[in-house]
């Protein structure tokens, strides 16, 4: 039987990075995710798996080190929190524009600006709609438990290499700081140079051999028509992601009159609201998007045909609610409840909002 441990979300991110066979972590400390690098430094994976852990001089340096590692087909990641992710946004668009697989973890906090160090989901737009410039998408996974902080690092790398695209794990201060039970996976070996050539040799900088052409990693193209074609290729890739990778969970939606839509820590809080409402005989369900891009539009559209309304519950001033409205397309009311800047709502507050805005 596997050992059950009690660990913080941030510590588990570090454990998962080592155990999934990552080649390198580059980062710069920031609350509320500093335990990620602290744990990595404590574990010293360079002595066991050979994984590099490096504290860069800034977030800009970290993300460009990620770019360098990813160019070579290595499994590389970084983590930060909101203001740090903003600093990395140039790197993110270059990574997406060069189609480089990598994992970026955001344990987000209150913004805008330097903001607060308390939990927030104010980076939903940044994660799902860009952050950097140009037509690109990150694949975005939103864990809502310490176990998922572990599992999604593995999933994120799988998706990153499957689509040659940066993948973001969008968490927040609640999930990063809390401790829960977790079962850690067995150590996976890092890819050998030969395995990297087999998996990534058609694009990665693995060293040119006489039997193949140069691999070139760049996001620059001087011919607009050629670059339009490249943009179109990205669109096709993102559409494939939309078709194949949507993940979500539904709870008690079968007979629900009202559905709460929430991700990450908000989904945990909303779940308790749902339990409270059910105890009073009000038929409330909950839909939790696990992938924020691709967004679970279809299940929400299907529910819109029969429920009396949706409540988007977010730790921000209203971001994901726009995607819900697009999916619902006017078929039923979509309301929003949120708190921002690092303030966190209680299940009771969400219940009051549900009654005030929808049940009436």
């Amino acid at each position: 039987m596997k050992e059950v441990k009690l660990m913080k979300g941030n510590e588990v991110l570090a454990e998962a990075a080592i155990r999934c066979g990552a080649d390198a972590y580059f980062g710069y400390p920031i609350t509320p995710q500093s335990e990620v690098m602290e744990t990595l430094m404590e574990k010293k994976p360079w002595e066991t798996t050979g994984m590099v852990v490096l504290q860069a001089e800034s977030e800009l340096a970290s993300i460009n080190m990620v770019y360098g590692g990813a160019c070579c087909g290595k499994k590389v990641l970084t983590s930060s929190s909101s203001p740090g992710i903003s600093l990395m946004c140039e790197g993110l668009t270059y990574l997406a524009g060069s189609e480089l697989p990598c994992v970026i973890i955001n344990v987000s906090r209150g913004g805008p600006g330097l903001g607060t160090i308390q939990p927030s989901q104010g980076d939903y737009f940044q994660a799902t709609k860009g952050g950097g410039h140009g037509d690109y998408r990150l694949i975005v996974l939103a864990p809502n438990s310490v176990q998922e902080m572990h599992d999604f690092v593995f999933d994120a790398f799988d998706l990153a290499f499957k689509y040659r695209n940066p993948v973001m794990v969008l968490s927040d201060g609640v999930i990063g700081q809390m401790m829960e039970k977790v079962v850690l996976a067995e150590q996976r070996p890092r890819w050998t140079e030969q395995e990297i050539i087999e998996k990534c040799g058609d694009w990665a900088l693995t060293g040119k051999t006489p039997d193949r052409k140069h691999n070139i990693i760049t996001s620059l193209e001087l011919d607009p028509y050629a670059f339009e074609k490249f943009n179109q290729k990205l669109v096709e890739k993102y559409n494939k992601v939309r078709e194949n990778e949507v993940r979500y969970e539904e709870f008690m939606c079968d007979d629900a009159d009202y559905v709460i839509v929430a991700f990450g820590s908000s989904a945990r809080i909303g779940m308790k609201t749902m339990e409270m409402a059910r105890e009073e005989g009000i038929k409330v369900g909950l839909l939790r998007p696990i992938t924020l891009f691709p967004f679970p539009e279809k299940p929400i559209a299907a529910l819109a045909e029969r429920v009396k309304g949706f409540l988007s519950v977010e730790l921000n001033t209203g971001q994901m609610v726009e995607d819900i409205k697009l999916a619902v397309n006017g078929k039923t009311p979509v309301e929003f409840f949120g708190r921002a800047g690092g303030a966190v709502f209680s299940p009771e507050e969400v219940y009051d909002a549900l009654k005030e805005k929808l049940i009436k």
């Binding site: 059950v4 009690l6 809390m178 809080i269 779940m271 308790k272 209680s346 299940p347």
Partner: protein
């Protein structure tokens, strides 16, 4: 079984580690557990608190506003959390440094003079395990043998020499807690 608990006091009183021992104890008894600390600037010199949830079913919200039990270790925390105990719930506090005592009539109130007892035993470091013992007397949600295992699990190996003192303190805490 479900226990929603807050432990609140000054940073340095062992608030977070008491919660961690309890959470590990819950795991030893095969319960679901969740431990959520306050991690804001209040940690530096002000108040520190931790929410611990122990349940035989999956835990939904780690963020809660109403508690089955509040363990209060300073005046600021008393002012903040007395009103957040559920009706019929439990409030445990150390009278040391408390100037305004709890006044609610719809909850059970217990006092534990852990600061004084730790001083009497000449070991300030057992303060939080005395408190933990008192709590377990009032709410015996985890078997003592699992608490001792949880205690060991939550400590690094270099601190295992303190296990006998802490186990004794848990037992002593059970003796010195008083209903108000």
């Amino acid at each position: 079984m479900k226990e929603e608990l807050i432990i609140a006091g000054f940073g340095g009183q062992g608030v977070l580690s008491t919660g961690k021992i309890l959470a590990y104890s819950g795991i030893m008894q095969d319960y679901e557990v969740c431990w959520l600390p306050s991690y804001g600037p209040e940690m530096r010199g002000g108040t520190a608190n931790v929410t611990v949830i122990i349940s035989d079913k999956p835990i939904s919200s780690p963020v809660i506003q109403k508690f089955d039990t509040a363990i209060i270790l300073n005046q600021q925390s008393m002012d903040k959390f007395e009103s957040q105990v559920k009706p019929g719930g439990v409030l445990i506090y150390d009278t040391n440094g408390i100037t305004r005592h709890p006044e609610r009539k719809d909850i059970k109130i217990y006092t534990i003079d852990a600061t004084a007892e730790a001083a009497r035993r000449g070991n300030a470091r057992i303060f939080n395990t005395l408190i933990l013992g008192g709590y377990l007397k009032v709410k015996p949600i985890v078997d003592l043998e699992n608490v001792f295992m949880g205690l060991k699990k939550s400590l690094p190996e270099r601190a295992w020499k303190s296990l006998p003192d802490n186990e004794a303190a848990i037992r002593a805490g059970m003796e010195i807690i008083k209903e108000k």
